[in-house]
Structure formats: structure tokens, C-alpha cells
């Protein structure tokens, strides 16, 4: 087999490069362990408390479809889906109501999360006992629920939601509206 053919490629990484790569990986894990504690919650007001009964009443009274996202500041996947929710709100916040419920969290950390990801324009509530997702039959975070006007549950997405799924379910809600 001639030199250079895919079957005879020489080793790509020398021992020195491998050592540097391992050192870089170790540094990454170290920085993860010493990661930032979050952004100060300046400019974000205290989140109003809620529970399942109060949230059910809010959903029933809503004349717009509602995207209800259950999150927590300590939840890594929630940090990753926050930018999607912000973009979705920017695009269809005038037709769909976006509600965030911070569960099993503390006020300062939850407000810091909202400040860090620019979610100040979304409607947020504080549910330290996790009563809202519990009442909706969900455990853990994140969860995203899609409600038609009047509070009829259309779709429940458990776990991190991606852009396509979020866009599809919002389009479904708006399609139902006619």
C-alpha cells in the first residue's frame, strides 16, 4: 500500500502534542470545577411565587397560547435551551405567552439566571417546591409545556428542547388559533 493512502496514514499526533492535549483537557475540567457562580441579578425584580393551582388558573384565563418552561438555575440543560426561548419570544412573543417557572431554586440564583441569559422580557414565577411540574405529571427539569388558549395542554416536551421542536410546537399552537 503506497505511503499516504488512507490505509497507511502515519500517526497524526506526536507524544508531545498528545501531552499538550491532555493538559488542555485537564485545564478544561479544572475550570469547570471552578466555574463562575453566575451573574448578579441586577435589574431583575423578585419572582412572584406560584403553585399548581395558581398556574392552572393563569393558564385557564389566558386568551393566548402559552409556552410554559420549567427551569432551574442549577440545571445545565436549562442554560443551553434559554437562548432558544429568548429567540422564540423575540419572534412570536406578541402572539404566544412565554411563561417560565423556576423550581427548587433560590430567588437570587434564579434572578441571576434571568439576567445572564437576557430572559427579562419573559414572564417568570418562583415555585420552590416544584408544585407546578408535579401537578402536570412531570419530574426533574427542564420541561416545556404547550397550552392552547384556555389552558388545554397540547404538547409536553420532557428534557432539553431543540430549535426545530420548539419552532414546530409554537407553529402548531398558532395553527390551532387559525
Amino acid at each position: 500500500m503506497p505511503r499516504g493512502w488512507p490505509g497507511a496514514t502515519p500517526p497524526l499526533l506526536s507524544p508531545t502534542v498528545r501531552r499538550y492535549l491532555i493538559a488542555a483537557l485537564a485545564l478544561t475540567f479544572l475550570s469547570a470545577a471552578c466555574g463562575s457562580a453566575g451573574v448578579p441579578p441586577e435589574g431583575v425584580s423578585e419572582l412572584p411565587p406560584t403553585d399548581y393551582a395558581a398556574m392552572s388558573a393563569l393558564l385557564a384565563a389566558s386568551d393566548r397560547p402559552v409556552v410554559l418552561n420549567v427551569w432551574a438555575s442549577w440545571c445545565i440543560p436549562c442554560r443551553s435551551e434559554a437562548p432558544l426561548l429568548r429567540r422564540a419570544h423575540e419572534e412570536s412573543g406578541d402572539r404566544v405567552r412565554f411563561v417560565g417557572v423556576a423550581v427548587r431554586d433560590d430567588q437570587e440564583a434564579a434572578r441571576g439566571f434571568i439576567a445572564e441569559f437576557g430572559l427579562v422580557n419573559l414572564e417568570h414565577y418562583f415555585d420552590p417546591s416544584g408544585s407546578v411540574p408535579g401537578g402536570l405529571g412531570a419530574a426533574g427539569v427542564p420541561h416545556t409545556f404547550f397550552f392552547a388558549p384556555g389552558g388545554h395542554l397540547v404538547h409536553h416536551h420532557a428534557g432539553v428542547i431543540d430549535e426545530g421542536a420548539l419552532a414546530l410546537q409554537i407553529d402548531e399552537l398558532l395553527g390551532r388559533e387559525g
Binding site: 499516504g4 443551553s80 434559554a82 432539553v160 414546530l168
Partner: protein, 231 residues
């Protein structure tokens, strides 16, 4: 926990591997599958990392403050940066015989991509914009019928993979099959993008750039004076 994304990755990787295995000894050199698989794995992992980092930065999530978030690939991977990084790593890995390596990988890469798009069927992520065409499909509990956009993409990529496999049998000049694969992959994505639902403006220009680059490479390789194949 749900593992549909992991399942989709597994389906794509298996399809890629089976295609490489099928082509070994037919249109690829016998015994080349392992090295080609290694090159593709290095390229795919690098692309995933670069794409995830780009998506985090674009979304306002600082990778230095939250490095553990990098592994949450479900939350988004920037396909443009991912493709660039994957191609760069592949070029580095296969630098001694880049064109032949690209030719060897091309049909398998398209088949793997087709499997990835088709896996949207079990991930619940295969429907696009609303449509009244006879084959449009409604999601469970809905009356809105939609384009099965990921099926369109998978069919386009599968046809591309088959065409390139047949073309490779005629042993064209090195690099032509690889360049054609770039045109097919970018073109299929560009063509189906208007039927996908997304949040805000899509990365269409990345796909247009990929198709243009593929066509430039194809033109360059086709008009080059013929030299002896390196095998």
C-alpha cells in the same frame, strides 16, 4: 432521560460504517475502512465540538464560565462551524492523500447524513412547514398537515450517495467524487431549508457557500490535466 438523539447518532454511524465496509474492495482499497473510519471519527468529533462552542457563544452562553454545557449537544450545534472544523481536521488527518481520502469517504458520508435525517422519524423531528400536498403528514393530535422535510432530505442524500458510488466505479480523477459530495450535501440542505421551521433567520448562506465551494472544487478537478492515479 430520553435517548432518541443518541439513537439517531448510532443509526447514522452504523449506516456510515456499513457503507464504508460495502465499498472496501469495490470502489475503495481493500482494508482501508478502519483508517477511513478513524479519519471520519476525528473529523466528526472536532466538528461537533466547534459547532457546539459556536452555538453556545451565539446564544450568549459563555463556554469558559460554563464548560460543562459543551457536552449538552442537544441544545444546539452550529452546522456551519461544525462542517468547517470537520473539513479542516479531515484535511489535516488525510494531508498525504487528501483527494483520494475525500473520494473514499464521500458516499458513506452522504449515506450517514441520510440516515441522520431519516432518524427524525423516531425523534419526532421530521415535519416542517404546513402543506396540503397529498403526502403531507400531521403530527399526533393535530389537524395541520406538514411537509415530511427530513424524509425529502434523506431521499436526496441517499440518491446522491448511490450516484457517487456508481460514478466512483468509473474511477474519475481524484477529488471529483469528494467535491460532488460537498455539492450534494450542501444543495440538499439548501433546497430543503425553506421547508424547515426555525427561530429567526436560518444559516442558509452557509449551505450556499458549501455548494459554491463544492462546485468550484469540482470545476477545478475536472479541468485539471489528467495525471496518474496515486494507487
Amino acid at each position: 432521560m430520553e435517548f432518541t438523539l443518541l439513537g439517531a447518532v448510532a443509526v447514522a454511524v452504523v449506516t456510515f460504517g456499513v457503507t464504508l465496509w460495502f465499498e472496501a474492495g469495490r470502489t475503495n482499497p481493500a482494508g482501508s475502512s478502519r483508517r477511513l473510519g478513524d479519519a471520519a471519527l476525528a473529523a466528526a468529533l472536532s466538528g461537533l465540538l466547534a459547532g457546539r462552542l459556536a452555538a453556545m457563544v451565539a446564544g450568549g452562553n459563555d463556554p469558559l464560565a460554563h464548560p460543562a454545557d459543551i457536552v449538552v449537544v442537544r441544545a444546539g450545534v452550529d452546522t456551519g462551524f461544525a462542517a468547517l472544523a470537520a473539513l479542516a481536521v479531515l484535511a489535516l488527518y488525510a494531508r498525504h492523500n487528501l483527494w483520494r481520502t475525500l473520494d473514499c469517504l464521500a458516499p458513506a458520508a452522504l449515506a450517514g447524513l441520510a440516515a441522520w435525517h431519516l432518524s427524525g422519524l423516531f425523534r419526532g423531528a421530521w415535519l416542517g412547514t404546513s402543506s396540503s400536498l397529498p403526502w403531507a403528514v400531521a403530527q399526533e393530535g393535530s389537524t395541520v398537515t406538514r411537509h415530511p422535510v427530513e424524509v425529502y432530505a434523506a431521499l436526496g442524500l441517499l440518491l446522491g450517495a448511490l450516484a457517487l458510488h456508481l460514478w466512483k466505479r468509473r474511477t474519475p480523477l481524484p477529488g471529483i467524487v469528494g467535491a460532488a459530495a460537498l455539492v450534494v450535501a450542501s444543495g440538499v440542505r439548501l433546497g430543503t431549508e425553506p421547508l424547515r421551521l426555525g427561530l429567526g433567520s436560518g444559516p442558509d448562506w452557509w449551505y450556499a457557500a458549501g455548494a459554491a465551494l463544492g462546485m468550484l472544487l469540482l470545476g477545478w478537478r475536472l479541468t485539471r490535466p489528467q495525471s496518474k492515479p496515486s494507487t
